[in-house]
Structures are given as structure tokens and as C-alpha cells.
Amino acid sequence: MTDTATAPAPGGGPAPVAEAIGVGKRFGATVALRDARIAVAAGEAHALVGRNGAGKSTLVSLLTGLQRPDTGGLRFSGEPAPAFGDIDAWRSRVACVYQRSTIIPGLTVAENLFLNRQSAGPLRPIRWRQLRRRAEELLGEYGVDVDPAARAGELTVEQRQFVEIARALSFGARFIVLDEPTAKLDARGIARLFDKLRDLRRQGVAFLFISHHLQEVYDLCTTVTVYRDATHILTAPVAEVGHQALVEAMTGETATATDAPAAGPPAAGATGLPTARAGDPAPTAPGTLLTIEDLTLPGACRDLSLAVRAGEVVGLAGAAASGHVRVGEAVAGLHRAEAGRITVDGRAVRTGSVPSALAAGVGLVPEDRHLQGLVHHRSVAENATLTVTGQLGPFGTVLPARTRVFAQRMIRDLDIKTPGAATLVSALSGGNQQKVVVARALATDPRVLVAVRPTNGVDVRSKEFLLRRIRQVADGGKAALIVSDELDDLRVCDRVVVMFHGRVVAEFDRGWRDEQVVAAVEGVAGRAPTSATGVSDTAEHGR
């Protein structure tokens, strides 16, 4: 992961491939960017980091010509930006892989690659055979091994991303914006993506890499720019900015100062994330709250057993195809088990029944807050109380006053930054939306909290807060299961159980080292390493 030095040194051309000078953008009353700047040199891997709402996405939409800056200007390789709306000209200068997939699942890979330019002219018929051949050539050029005749919807997430990158670069741009490309990938997929990106850099392609994972920035990038509150804060070579300094630049405060976990030294390094307290006595409470026995889920796991005691936070780690997310969701009643049983505090839960799981006292923070978590057009209050409508009034009624009071309590409890309980949840930033999802899970006062990737796509501060809140749940005598492959998430756990291909392959008590867990997740710890290559072909599990 340190071959960034092998890339050709930038500076071939004096002018940066892309440059924004003093750009500003407002949306109504909100200032999205104020006098911001960035310059990406040719062949450079440039990271752009900042908390949610710092203006990163706005900058991307300006750089890619989707929106017009109110003030300031853009230059590409020293020349002024093309006219607004001249899509072809923009795309020959800057390529972009958006946060949301822009692959159309019903069409073939070849057609996706050449969408809207399948033929030479609007009235020329499309020659399908030739199109497929062109697609093959293009994919070959970037070393992407995907069948152009395959339906795009059937590719894995990572293959789809490669296709998007190939498409973005096929317009001739030597500069590509990657907006959180790793959000939906597992560790193995990320490694392959990074390999690909390094290859492209060797070919002279420059990147603007946007990510919430600072480790990725250190792994891949040479320069980092930090935005905060819609303005530029700093630009510096990655090697010169320490982890702590970076977090400080993003948050505008010293990370360890205000509300770091009172108990416990920041053993996880300078991130300020809460960790399992090393000094604690091992939770010996006899009450096992969650027991999974011989659970078999079709396509996800076989004969899996796991127990979580009261006061314990257990991490369930694994690669995307390992089935760990399925197991977590099964505990919450989302999937029916083929065999085995799940008991909460001695009481059996009917698998595949969410009401049964709720009644038994299971709370779930689902994996994808947009798909499974939030009702976007409803208020924060309604979203936060979705699981407890039964308690909000007599005889099946939902009293607005009680809803409001309840929601206000959750807003205070989770420190949700919202103008009010009646605000639409879609108006909140990503981190606060995630807090609403967590609020909903906690609203029932669950005895077992299952959190699937609880910090997915949230900024450093919110991440810290959410993990600490989960820790508190366990400290209150409940049990928590964090299903994640995010090392930061796993650090709060008392125990980390690693799944590989539907089986538990390793278990770590506190004090594990990063590489141990990563190795187990990748399936290289103690097991036949030959099976490791098979991981990625299992299509993305879940839905």
C-alpha cells in the first residue's frame, strides 16, 4: 500500500489539469461554497476531505459542469472551462464517478459504456456487433475483465465501478473525480479498486478522491485538501499531515479536547474514536441476552452460533460476501432461517418476523439508511418514532403531542442537529439522518441492539458520537451487535467475531491488531488461502 512513490512525479505541465479559483455557490439561503479553491496537478492523486455539508459534493457538481458557480471560475489545463451545458466539452476534460451508480441495470455493459453515443449520428442505426467490439476494446484498455454483453445489473458492485471508471475516461479526460467510490465496496474490492487507480495514475491520469475514510487517503493519495463549512481550510502533501491534524482541520477543534470518552485512553491512535476499555473486567454477567444457535440462512451462513452477554458489545466482521450482514438482519427478523434458532433473553424469536423480533426486544440500525431506514418525505419525529407508534396513544391512536415529546427526547438523546422535530428528514445532513435511524432503533429501548454498519457515510464527529452511544447501550446492561467491516466500528467492541463465507473463522478479544482482523476478514488467517480468490464472484449478498 505504499507504492504511491512509484508514480511519475507530477509537474510535467505547469498548469494544473483542473483548478477552481474562488468559486462560490448558494442554494437559496444556504451557502454551499464560499470563495473555495482547489488545484489538481497532472497525474496527481488529490484527496478532498471534509465533514458532511462541507461543500465537497457542490464542488464536484461545479467541476463536472452540472452546476454553474455563482462566483469565481474554473480552469482545465490552463484554459477556461467550457460553456455551461456543453456536455461533450466538459466530459473531454473531466470524468466523474458519482456517489450514486449511474449504470442502468437493464442495459448491457456495452450499451452502458456508450450510452447516448451508441452510433455516429442520431439517425444512424446502432450496429450492435460493432458496439460490443468497441466495448471490449475499451474495457481491455483499462484492464477491466467484464463481458460487454452481460447485463449491467448482474455485475458485482466493484465490476460496475470499473465499468463506470472506464466509461468516464473514455471521453478522453485525464482527470477523474471519484466521489466516495469505496462506500459500497468491501475491503477486497477496495484493494482492487486502488490497484486499478494506481495503474491509471501510472498512465498519467489525475484524481480527485473524495472519501470519509482517512486511512484510504493515506493509502492512495499524495496531496490532501480539507474543506470545512463551505470554505477551503488547507492543502498539503499527505505525508506532512498527521492523522490528528487532519481530523482537527476537518472538525475545526482539537479532537481529544471536548468530549472524548471519559474513561479510557485513545488507544486506537489519534482518531479520538472510543475504544473498548482495556482496564475493564471482562463482562462476566451470567445473563446471555442474545443467543444464535446453529443458524443456517440460505446463501449466507451455515450452522452459525454466537452469543452476546448483557453489557457486551460484539463486533461481527466480514467481507461483503461473508454473510455477516445477513446474520445481523436475521436477528432483527428480516430473514427466515432454514435451520437453527435465535433467542433473546431466553425467549425464542420467530425468524423472518420483524414484529416478533421487536417484541423480543431487538432494535435494528439497518445497513442502508436510504433504502431500509428512512421515510424521506416525512418528518424527523415520524421517522424517529416509527417503531413505537403503539406507545404514542391509547387504542391504536398516535397522538401528535406525545409523538413530539418523544421525538424531542430522541433528538436530545442523540444530539440530532435539526431545526425542529417537524423538519423533513431529507433536509438533514447524512450524519444526522443516520442519527435518526439510530434513534428509531433505540426508541423501543431494545435489549439487543443490532447495528449494521452504523457509521456508513457519516463524518468523523458523528461517527464518534454514534459509536459511543452504542457503547452506552451496552453499559446500561443491554447487548449490542455491531455488524461491520469498518475497523473503527470494531474498536468499540469487547469481542470481534469474524465471518468468512458463512462461517465463523476467528474471534478476537480486546487488544487485537488491525492486520489480524483484516487478515481474518480476507480469509487468509489459518484457512486454506486458495479459497480466498473465490470471494469476489459471490454476487453481492442481501437484496
Binding site: 442502468i104 447516448n116 442505426p125 484492464g143 448482474e154 486499478k196 469476489s536
Partner: protein, 346 residues
């Protein structure tokens, strides 16, 4: 470039394996739009058993001619649904466009229906098509520029246009039509009604455009993921607008064929058709959510529905039961196409 491929080598086998799997899936997918063909064959067999009159040229041509107007609406609906929209007002356009055109050209006196006599009679056909274009353009303006809900806009339009037709025609059928207007619906070319030939050509054009033209493929992209289509440089709104206009134009044209076929513009022309049109389109494999389906599939949907009606008539089913059976058949056909194609209809 060899260095690049080295890096991805572990994935290579995997990807290839994937690709083989998808290739097989794709082949099946190619036949998906033919899923109703067996149903049509079975219907033919039943028809043959039920009545010797079924498998005669006259009967089959009659079925085909009766399907023409409906199938043009189905063609329009298929295009609109594929790009993820709906237009309910088509069923009123088929009636109001001819009435407006005729109203503008017929003389002010002398017949039971008096028009304005503003324009020469030969302009009736172009006028009718123009009315279709205007209706589509207005729908597009309301849906795409004002961002109103398309379902309700076209529902309002359906009622409004039906009302306009009733007001202009005073609720009566118009029988005094210019000869140019009735020609296409009446004429016979090469031994079959002209309307059939025209329909075949229009369906072929539609199929070809969706298969081989960029803008045709754009409909699938828009229906599949409009945001992605936009980032790919497709002018989403413009294309949807054109499709809406095209749809209304087809409906107006269907109105011309219908009027010519029956020699008059009936006051209820097209009334209640939209249910059948949607049913036929969805049975034919077009998704209500957009992005999926084909024009040919939609055509098999219409033919299935029409054949069922024909077979029932020949079998002597009492006409009073027709409505009930029609509904039942839509549901049965939907179930058949659901399992024949193996795809969920959402």
C-alpha cells in the same frame, strides 16, 4: 498494458465465470418478449376447435382490423411507459382530435353537424394530427415544465378532452365526414385493409427505433434511471416531451383510422379504452415502472386480448358476460405473462 492485466488476474476467472452466467441469462431475456406467443397459439387452437369460422382469412383479417386502433394506442403507451411516464389522456385524444379537425373544416350549414368551415376539407387529416401534437405538447408542458404529477395531469386531460368532444359534437355522432378523412380507415391495399399495413409499418418502425437508434435506446435509459441518463448527456426532458407528443400523435392517427373504419365519429369513441390499453401493454411485458419491455411484446399483448374476444364471440358466449370475461382475461393473461417471463411485475 500487460502490467495492468497482471494486477487484475485473480479477478479474471471470476469475472469470466460471471459473464458466462449472464450470457445465458441474456439469451433467455431475448425470448422474454415472446412469452405470449404460446398463449396466442393455444387461443388459435381453441378457436379452431370451437368454430370452423375462426381459421378463415375473413375472420382473422377482421380481428386484425379491429385491433388496429387499439394497437396504435398500445404502441403509444408502450413508448411512454418505457421512458417511465404515463398518459391516460390518449383515450380521449382518439375521439377529440377528429372532432376538432372536422369541426374546423365542415361547412357552417347544410348538415346536421355544423362546423366552422374555416379551412378546406383536405386539411382534415393534417389538422387532426396537429391537434394530437398540441395535446401531447400541453401534457408535456404541464408535466415537465410545471412539474405536475403526470398521472393526475393526464387524468384531468382525459376528462377535459372528453368534455370538449361532447360539447363540440353536441353529444352526437358525426357522420358527414370528408372523404379524405375516411380514406385510410376504409381503403384496402393488396387484399387487406390499409389500416393493417399502416399498423404493421408503424410497429416495425417503433421496434427498429427502440433497437437501433440512440434516441430509442435513450428511452430505456431514462425509464431505468433518469438521473444516470442525465449524467450520460441524454436530454431527458426533451426526449420525454417528444415521446409524449409522439404518443398523442399516434392516438390522433388512431382516431382517423377508427372514424374511417366505422364511417363516423362516435361520441364515445375511445371511451374506457385506456384500461385495455394498459392491460395489453403490461401483459405484453412492458413495466409500469419504466425501462423494460418492447414494442413487439406490447403487440402480442393486444393480439392476445383481441383473439380472446373473437373466440368468445364465435363460441357464442352471451354478450352480457363480455365485460366480466374481459376483466377476468386480463388478470389471467397477467398471471401467464408473469410466469412465462419469470419477472416480477411491480
Amino acid at each position: 498494458m500487460s502490467a495492468t492485466t497482471d494486477v487484475t488476474d485473480p479477478t479474471a476467472n471470476v469475472a469470466r465465470k460471471d459473464a458466462e452466467g449472464t450470457r445465458r441469462g441474456l439469451d433467455l431475456g431475448r425470448f422474454r418478449e415472446l412469452s405470449l406467443i404460446p398463449a396466442i397459439l393455444v387461443l388459435g387452437l381453441i378457436g379452431f376447435i370451437v368454430s370452423p369460422a375462426f381459421l378463415t382469412g375473413d375472420n382473422l383479417i377482421g380481428v386484425a382490423q379491429q385491433s388496429t386502433e387499439l394497437s396504435l394506442l398500445v404502441l403509444a403507451t408502450a413508448l411512454i411507459l418505457i421512458c417511465g411516464r404515463m398518459d391516460l389522456s390518449l383515450e380521449s385524444t382518439i375521439g377529440v382530435a377528429p372532432v376538432v379537425a372536422v369541426w374546423l373544416v365542415l361547412p357552417t350549414s347544410g348538415a346536421r353537424f355544423t362546423g366552422l368551415g374555416l379551412l378546406p376539407e383536405w386539411t382534415a387529416v393534417p389538422l387532426c394530427l396537429l391537434v394530437g401534437v398540441v395535446i401531447g405538447a400541453v401534457n408535456g408542458f404541464l408535466i415537465l415544465k410545471l412539474r405536475l404529477n403526470g398521472f393526475i395531469v393526464t387524468l384531468g386531460m382525459l376528462t377535459m378532452l372528453r368534455g370538449l368532444q361532447v360539447a363540440l359534437s353536441e353529444g352526437q355522432s358525426i357522420v358527414e365526414l370528408p372523404s379524405s378523412f375516411t380514406y385510410l380507415g376504409k381503403a384496402s391495399w393488396w387484399g387487406a385493409p390499409a389500416a393493417i399495413w399502416i399498423c404493421v409499418v408503424l410497429f416495425a418502425l417503433g421496434s427498429a427505433a427502440l433497437a437501433w437508434l440512440r434516441h430509442g435506446r435513450a428511452l430505456y435509459a431514462i425509464g431505468g434511471n433518469a438521473e444516470a441518463a442525465r449524467t450520460a448527456g441524454i436530454r431527458v426532458d426533451r426526449i420525454v416531451w417528444v415521446v409524449l407528443i409522439l404518443g398523442s400523435l399516434l392516438a390522433a392517427f388512431a382516431g382517423i383510422l377508427y372514424s374511417g373504419h366505422y364511417g363516423s365519429i362516435s361520441a364515445t369513441q375511445g371511451s374506457g379504452w385506456i384500461f385495455q390499453v394498459f392491460a395489453a401493454t403490461v401483459i405484453g411485458g412492458v413495466s409500469l415502472n419504466g425501462g423494460k419491455g418492447s414494442v413487439f411484446g406490447a403487440l402480442t399483448g393486444v393480439l392476445t386480448l383481441q383473439l380472446v374476444v373473437n373466440v368468445m364471440t364465435l363460441a357464442g358466449v352471451p354478450p352480457l358476460w363480455n365485460q366480466f370475461l374481459n376483466g377476468a382475461i386480463i388478470i389471467v393473461a397477467l398471471i401467464i405473462s408473469r410466469f412465462a417471463s419469470g419477472e416480477k411485475q411491480e
